[in-house]
């Protein structure tokens, strides 16, 4: 890279098939997000968020960011959909009805923030500009030095694990800490046979003889014999459950 970097780019974007595909995916993203806003049934919202993640992954593939697309498809559409489903089971099945109030203030905040974001896009480099700052300075340096210093075909892995290895260690620690926090907050009871933590109030007529049978009755409730307490106050579909 001997030629000096151009500060003012004369790049002119041209319409082609790839841009048509990308604009179509972005339109679908908008449609899905509006549908998520309109939907009250939380199961549908979770499924739509999975669809949103898959569309995002598709968009990243169209932008040649395959690693990011991979992560989005695995984490966004896979794991977080499952986690949202599990979290939905801990709460209600349906969103609470909309309570009017503060609508004008919320609209004002949205318009101001949205206007500022749109105004900021006027300064952004044009779409697909090879001289954009993201492509020109540090990114180009990584591309140039990678073959000599690490000699690994996947530049993303090299940047993540070697050039920025310290950051990735912090991210791994973040995930470790997240799992640790979930274990402490949602503990299933002690692993060594302590009392199982449950939101279900104890049955008055069951009269368990010992602690082990109490645990067994809790476990048998979980197979669907009767509706447990935390879901009984959800607004739909539990009263007529067998």
């Amino acid at each position: 890279m001997n030629e000096p970097l151009q500060l003012i780019s004369d790049f002119q974007p041209s319409a082609n098939l790839m841009q048509f595909i990308e604009i179509s995916i972005l339109t679908l993203l908008l449609v899905v997000s509006i549908a998520m806003l309109r939907m009250r049934r939380l199961f549908g919202v979770v499924m739509l968020s999975g669809i949103y993640s898959f569309l995002s992954a598709l968009f990243f593939v169209a932008l040649d960011a395959v690693d990011v697309a991979f992560t989005e498809a695995a984490v966004g559409a896979g794991i977080s959909t499952i986690l949202m489903l599990s979290a939905m089971l801990l709460t209600a099945r349906r969103e609470k009805p909309f309570v009017p109030g503060h609508a004008f203030l919320a609209l004002l905040v949205c318009v101001v923030v949205g206007g500022a974001l749109v105004y900021a896009t006027f300064d952004a480099p044009l779409y697909g500009d090879p001289m954009a700052p993201a492509n020109a300075y540090v990114g180009q340096a990584y591309v140039d030095r990678m073959a000599v210093e690490i000699s690994m075909p996947n530049i993303v892995t090299g940047v993540l694990a070697s050039y920025r290895g310290y950051d990735t260690m912090g991210e791994t620690a973040v995930i470790f800490t997240a799992a640790l926090g979930v274990m402490l907050l949602l503990g299933l009871g002690s692993e060594r046979g302590g009392r199982v933590v449950s939101d279900v109030p104890p049955e008055p007529e069951a009269s368990p003889s010992s602690d082990s049978t109490a645990q067994n009755s809790t476990a048998q409730n979980s197979t669907g014999q009767k509706s447990p307490a935390p879901t009984a106050n959800s607004p739909i579909g539990r009263e007529d459950a067998p």
Binding site: F43, V66, D67, A69, F70, T71, A74, V75, G78, I79, I82, L83, S86, A87, L89, L90, R93, E149, I150, S151, M152, P153, N154, V156, T157, G158, L160, A161, S162, G165, Y166, T168, M169, E171, T172, A173, I175, F176, A178, A179, L180, V182, M183, L186, G187, L188, E191, D199, N221, S222, T223, G224, P228, P230, T231, G237, A241
Partner: protein
């Protein structure tokens, strides 16, 4: 227990290929898209898929929740330990060149990245499965009319 027969047969059919694909993503991350994070998530998603089809208790018999924290700690320590080893070999923290000095094709970098990605994969796999276990274990298993 003959509910969801087609789903269960398909899950059994897909379980091993998903694990194999996760290992491919893990150990081929230097050459293709992927790496430890994605591999860990895919590896965990195979077990989560199994749990969705066959129940949480069956899955916890195969992968008990009590062993997962050891995997989490081992993964994180493998990452940090690689850095400490490079410190003791005379380099900077996570400076992989000292793992194989005098190499003409950067073998030290490859070794270091391999170890580090293995640590990330182990930590992410066990963390994701732990989070799923603890979320799903709070509630009785999902009955059909809830969907």
């Amino acid at each position: 227990m003959m509910d969801h027969l087609i789903l269960r047969v398909m899950i059994k059919l897909f379980f091993a290929p998903i694990l194999l694909f996760a290992l491919y993503v893990q150990f081929h991350g230097d050459y293709g898209p992927g790496g430890g994070f994605q591999a860990g998530v895919i590896f965990a998603s195979a077990f989560i898929l199994f749990a969705l089809g066959f129940g949480l208790r069956t899955t916890q018999k195969a992968v008990p929740p009590s062993v997962l924290p050891y995997f989490m700690v081992t993964g994180l320590l493998l990452y940090a330990g690689t850095g400490v080893v490079t410190l003791f070999l005379g380099g900077n923290f996570l400076d992989y060149y000292v793992l194989a000095p005098n190499s003409h094709h950067n073998a030290g970098q490859h070794m270091g990245i391999f170890l580090v990605e293995l640590g990330v994969g182990m930590a992410v796999f066990s963390s994701m499965l732990t989070i799923f276990y603890y979320f799903a274990g709070r509630e009785p298993e999902i009955s059909d009319e809830d969907w």
